[in-house]
């Protein structure tokens, strides 16, 4: 999706009809729009999302006042006003015109809630144009509403993206963006195809194949039941967890329970960390033993070897490359190995005679030194193994003690809440414990359902193989079996592709996230996207990963890094060669539209974030105030800017309010006195 233009008509502060071009290319992907506080930056951001989805973000006040106040006031009672936002964009080789309009009939000074209508037209590269029948569904395919949070956002509120309650939604929405959704949908439809084809085989397949097919059908039914059961159980676990979180929230808000609950929250978090550190230490010990453990058994071996070698050395019996007997043989035969005659007393004879003295002795010396060195080294390696092992043993012991101490403290805190004199606290804690028991029981059932699904999958596979081998004579049945085998193979391949894509997606997002985050922050913190799609931040202390409490600024940087990573990955994934064989030039391209992009970040961070986003986003629309954007941000972004604009504020406020903004040496009106409150969207570049 690449934005081409936006046109607003009587939309909030934007009176009349106002357009702004957003076309940009890869070398200059940035559109920069300045506006004073209250000028309509947030409104402009919301104009995009209103056009796309028909709603505003929570931070927009008076959401029903859709029509510009001045226009509404000047409209006579009984007459109507049109309000609309039109967004033109391209996506997957097609151009789209999206128009959301509402017509409001004035019945009083108060604006009633509007019921907007959305229309969408698509034009293909050959010029054919059509109106899309299900426009909202199509928009949700191009950019699902949930996913839009990555691309249209308020920088000051972006940390919401990494809040715990957002993870499940983020994970779900991102599937569409990263090409997982169609695979999942295919996997729900293929079994139904399978079922229709198997009816043909049952009917015409003869006794044996028909019987096997019935068995497969029964296994499929059981597997389907188990899957449904697992799905129900998983959502039950999720709602029990949500209920537990609500109970904990009540405990946190209760004046008597709050200090205890807060401490319990801390202890629980530390306990998770301590358990992780303990497990990591145990793993480290196992790795050490597996790779260097054999050294522990070399004590006697080394001393015996050394003793034996010393004896051999004393006797000159260690193997040597040049043997004295060999030299004696040459002297006796009076011919050197090179053919020279060895006449007694000649130079050649003396030369070889010298070798006779050296042979054996020097080689023995060398061999001995080498062996002695190796044996000594073995001893020092053993010593370092011992010290490493005792270091790890200490770590294991310490972490074990920490786990024990935290469990004891947690039990104590549980007891305090359970035994509280306040009945409300007591009952909340009772409820909490009851929910915990239920969650554990449900999780066990989820595990057993998963096991059953896996067992049934194996049985189905075995029966399918049996079906392929069973004798079938009827032509229709043969065809049905071939079709079933085909569907089965494709289902298997798609299941594998889904797993590969999901793992690959998470790993690559994690890698991108780490890279982007490292370019922005000067802290040594490392972000991770966990298997559950949680964004965590940690640092390494003596080889142990410790969580870092995230500040608002850090959450903003983490979120912006995640946005940049998602944007980059969506583009990469769609342009790679995959089963769909897509070829679209701008496949996977999405714009990033940010209001107050640099929020409360320090200037250094503003600079780094601006640089990272300008380089990573294929299209970037930044809405900033003079104070946020005129320093390092504009310096970083200017080389990448295609479109430059100012939201010119016209205000009825009294006094000397006029203000200008100076861009590239030219002053432009920023705020002006007026007889009506409105904003004009001025194009500078």
């Amino acid at each position: 999706m690449k934005l081409q233009s936006i046109t607003l008509e009587n939309f909030r502060q934007f009176a009349g009809r106002q357009s702004f071009g957003l076309d940009s290319d890869n070398t200059r992907p940035v559109t920069l729009i300045f506006g004073a506080n209250g000028s309509g930056k947030t409104t402009l951001l919301n104009a995009f999302t209103w056009a796309l989805y028909g709603g505003f973000s929570d931070d927009v006040e008076q959401q029903d006042r859709l029509v510009t106040d001045a226009i509404w006031r000047s409209t006579p009672i009984g007459q109507s006003v049109d309000v609309s936002v039109e967004v033109k964009f391209s996506h997957d080789d097609r151009s789209y015109r999206l128009l959301r309009t509402a017509t409001l009939r004035k019945e009083s000074d108060h604006q009633q809630r509007a019921i907007p209508v959305v229309q969408l037209w698509a034009t293909t590269p050959d010029g054919a144009s059509e109106e899309i029948n299900a426009p909202q569904e199509m928009i949700n395919t191009i950019l699902p509403q949930g996913v839009s949070r990555f691309f249209f956002f308020n920088g000051e509120r972006i940390e919401n993206l990494v809040k715990k309650e957002a993870y499940a939604e983020v994970q779900k929405d991102i599937k569409v963006l990263l090409d997982l959704e169609q695979v999942e949908r295919a996997l729900t439809h293929l079994p139904k195809v399978d079922r229709k084809l198997s009816a043909d085989l049952r009917k015409n397949g003869g006794e044996r194949a028909g019987q096997i097919q019935e068995e497969i059908d029964e296994l499929n039914d059981r597997q389907e039941d188990a899957k449904k059961r697992r799905s129900v159980l998983e959502s039950e676990v999720a709602s029990l967890n949500a209920e537990r979180e609500r109970v904990l929230e009540l405990l946190r808000e209760n004046a008597d329970a709050a200090p205890i609950q807060q401490r319990r929250d801390q202890v629980e978090q530390e306990l998770v960390e301590a358990q992780r550190a303990y497990e990591s230490a145990v793993t480290d010990r196992a790795t050490l033993i597996a790779t260097r453990g054999f050294l522990a058994f070399t004590d006697v071996l080394a001393s015996d070897t050394k003793e034996m070698a010393e004896d051999l050395y004393r006797r000159g019996a260690l193997p040597a490359p040049l043997k004295r007997e060999f030299v004696d043989d040459l002297l006796e035969k009076k011919v050197c190995i090179c053919g020279t005659e060895l006449t007694e007393g000649s130079d050649s004879w003396r030369h070889v005679q010298n070798w006779r003295h050296q042979a054996g002795l020097q080689a023995v010396e060398t061999a001995w030194q080498k062996l002695a060195g190796n044996v000594d080294e073995l001893e020092s390696t053993r010593a370092s193994l011992r010290s490493d092992l005792s270091g790890i043993a200490k770590r294991i012991g310490d972490e074990h003690d920490r786990v024990d101490r935290l469990i004891a403290e947690k039990s104590e805190l549980d007891g305090k809440l359970r035994g509280s004199r306040r009945e409300d606290v007591q009952s909340l804690e009772g409820k909490h414990m009851e929910l915990l028991d239920m969650i554990r029981a449900k999780e066990q059932q989820v595990g057993s359902a998963k096991g059953e699904i896996e067992r049934l999958a194996k049985d189905i596979e075995a029966k399918t193989r049996e079906r392929s081998k069973a004798e079938v004579t009827d032509e229709l049945a043969l065809k049905a079996r071939a079709r079933l085998d085909l569907v089965q193979s494709v289902k298997k391949a798609l299941t594998e592709i889904l797993e590969i894509r999901a793992t690959d997606m998470r790993n690559r997002l994690d890698k991108e996230l780490k890279e982007v985050f490292a370019t922005i922050t000067h802290q040594s913190h490392v972000p991770t996207l966990t298997e559950k799609f949680e964004l965590t931040l940690h640092k390494l202390v003596n080889g142990v990963e410790l969580p870092v409490p995230k500040s608002t600024g850090e959450n903003q940087i983490l979120s912006l890094s995640f946005v940049a990573a998602v944007s980059k990955l969506a583009r990469e994934i769609r342009t790679e060669r995959r089963a769909e064989e897509q070829t679209s030039v701008d496949a996977g391209t999405y714009p990033i539209v940010m209001d107050a992009a640099f929020g409360s970040l320090d200037e250094d961070y503003q600079e780094a974030v601006a640089r990272a986003l300008a380089k990573m986003a294929p299209q970037l629309v930044v809405l900033v105030s003079k104070s946020q954007g005129m320093g390092k941000v504009i310096t970083e972004l200017m080389p990448y800017v295609s479109n430059l604009g100012v939201l010119e504020t016209h205000t009825t406020a009294q006094g000397e309010v006029a203000d200008d903004i100076e861009i590239n040496g030219t002053a432009y009106p920023y705020i002006r006195s007026s007889d009506t409150d409105r904003t004009e969207l001025k194009v500078i570049l």
Partner: protein, 54 residues
Amino acid sequence: MTERTRTEKDVIGALSDEERALLKRVLEIERAKLHLSAYDGTDDILAAVKGIIP
């Protein structure tokens, strides 16, 4: 190569021509109707199967 290190390309490469054709067709069908949440691709996929093995 172990099962875990297989790539999407490996999976596609291991399929027969017929299987690869159906895989591509199934994904095309699903992708084209991704915006219609009520769409059930069963009949379209069944037709694709019968098109490949007539």
